[in-house]
Symmetry: C2
Subunit: 165 residues, 2 copies
């Protein structure tokens, strides 16, 4: 599996992953019926770096890396991740996360912030803890979970000092 | 002083306030040299409600109210406030804050979240505490303060159950 910058040619496969992930209604604020025209600029847009996990031509996951805020807050990165649900359990998310931390460090960011990690998404919370993130805040009932109703979301944060590029 | 919806005709005065506020480099991520074309859509754009404090034709403050996230997070509001520095000490921020809470409640939001309250902006932190917000998270060194270097920013949050419209 090769993690490399995304190209326009990857979008068809990325869009399928996006649809499969938001269909669950359990991890992202995007509604299950989000249109392609809204999803695409989230991933492929100037000012945002986008990378895909390429398994011999099949895209199995992806992440986007950007500044969390402009100007006086632009030293803190933000990133989002999606893995093809059919390929869960292969530690693709972990590989993408580690790659993303290195790319953020290379790009000169001092820290990385996740703004909205759904608290019931325990796999994600555990992964980000494993990769050095801490919960620095909890937003009560901020996410409308498809099955559980209103649940909390976490803000997670980590400095990048110790990331080896 | 009358708090009312902003109109396009208010923009010239709003832009002066925006410039005066971001010139300090102490409260907003916007750089002091932010261009008008970038500032205007932050305030006057579809999907965002914008209100001004009108003191006999003079605009002395303003706020914007919108959803903090789309779709499955759209029950939480976000708001931003600016007061003309020449009119500080008149409790204009407090009046705008109270008005904003009522507007958010009327619009059906369940909670309000401020994503980035600079920790050294003690006036703002105290005002939001006074209006019922709690610090639910702190982002370490997330703001490049013009005079103090990297300082923390707070995430503040409040439910709207008790707001009387």
């Amino acid at each position: 599996m090769n993690i490399r910058p995304a190209t326009d040619a990857d979008w068809t496969q990325m869009w399928r992953i996006f649809q499969a992930v938001v269909a669950t209604g359990t991890t992202y604020a995007y509604a299950p019926d989000t249109r392609e025209a809204e999803a695409r600029p989230y991933w492929l847009t100037p000012g945002t770096q986008c990378f895909v996990a390429d398994d011999e031509g099949q895209i199995v996951g992806m992440y986007r890396l950007t500044a969390n805020r402009r100007d006086l807050g632009s030293h803190v990165a933000n990133a989002s991740f999606m893995v093809d649900p059919r390929h869960q359990g292969r530690r693709i998310g972990e590989a993408l996360g580690r790659d993303c931390l290195r790319e953020a460090k290379r790009a000169g960011f001092l820290a990385m912030q996740f703004n909205f990690v759904v608290s019931t998404n325990t796999g994600a919370v555990a992964l980000w803890h494993k990769l050095g993130f801490e919960i620095v805040g909890t937003l009560p009932k901020a996410f409308q979970h498809r099955e559980r109703g209103l649940v909390d979301a976490h803000v997670m944060y980590r400095f990048l000092d110790d990331v080896v590029v």
